[in-house]
Symmetry: C2
DNA sequence: GCCTCATCACTACATTTGTAGTTGCCATTT
DNA sequence: AAATGGCAACTACAAATGTAGTGATGAGGC
């Protein structure tokens, strides 16, 4: 399992697109991102290349002979890595103050609260 | 209330030192950070200057006429801003998946779980 | 067969970040 | 007064990031 490389903010959008649907060509990714990020295709290509360099993406040829991109690392692993580093930076590595912060500062529905409480209980038996 | 400026990772350590004790001179901050970050004093000075430029710190003269630094923004505001941006980047801005992630991936004591569950309940009545 | 368009691989360039070095100035110490 | 030691201001410089432009190439359309 390749450990999660460090993925910058713009790069993250590209990864999301490919985690959601892959493989995709550069222009497909560009189109997929068009509504949110209004990037030139070359911008997306640069990001794709950097991600390949970092080992976050792999490439493959599709039927028509053009290059396509697909994730080389699992989203969950990257989320975990980013979350870890965030927790480290802002909350000194402690989960509790982090959870306190978000429990206090987020608007949640009764449903969500119920679900989260259940998860917290499960957390103990593990 | 000045909105929280964007504080980089190294800068964050400097801010922490000053949120904890302030005002402090550049060399005091350097000394305070010495155990963790083994930075040259000039490195700390650069970070201090950048933070002043960004409006995260203010300066004042102390009795002996040397410059001291102190926070211009509240820690809580910065934590909120960083947290917001993290939640945006990684969890698409939704608090629930974030809380789910940390509820599942953190080791918590029974005490902490109890406390968090209470906070979640309070969250609803507000 | 020639033009055009999509792809690709390179190159570009300003900002931000990490991590200092250099120099000038002022007060204190011989 | 000359040297020293701290602090301040400015400069340095490479890597990472954001955001493209340029030039070569090959395949399809006319």
């Amino acid at each position: 399992m390749p450990n999660a490389p460090d993925i910058a903010e713009s790069e993250w959008s590209v990864m999301e697109a490919l985690w959601e649907t892959s493989p995709q060509t550069a222009s497909e990714v560009t189109k997929a991102l068009r509504p949110t990020m209004n990037w030139a295709e070359n911008t997306v290509r640069t990001l794709l290349m950097r991600l390949v360099d970092k080992g976050a993406l792999k490439t493959a040829e599709n039927a028509s002979g053009t290059r396509t991109f697909l994730p080389a690392v699992k989203r969950e692993a990257c989320v975990r890595a980013e979350s870890e580093s965030f927790m480290q930076r802002i909350f000194g590595g402690a989960a509790k103050p982090l959870l306190v912060h978000f429990a206090q500062n987020s608007k949640l529905t009764a449903e969500e609260v119920k679900e989260l409480k259940k998860l917290l209980d499960q957390n103990l038996n593990s």
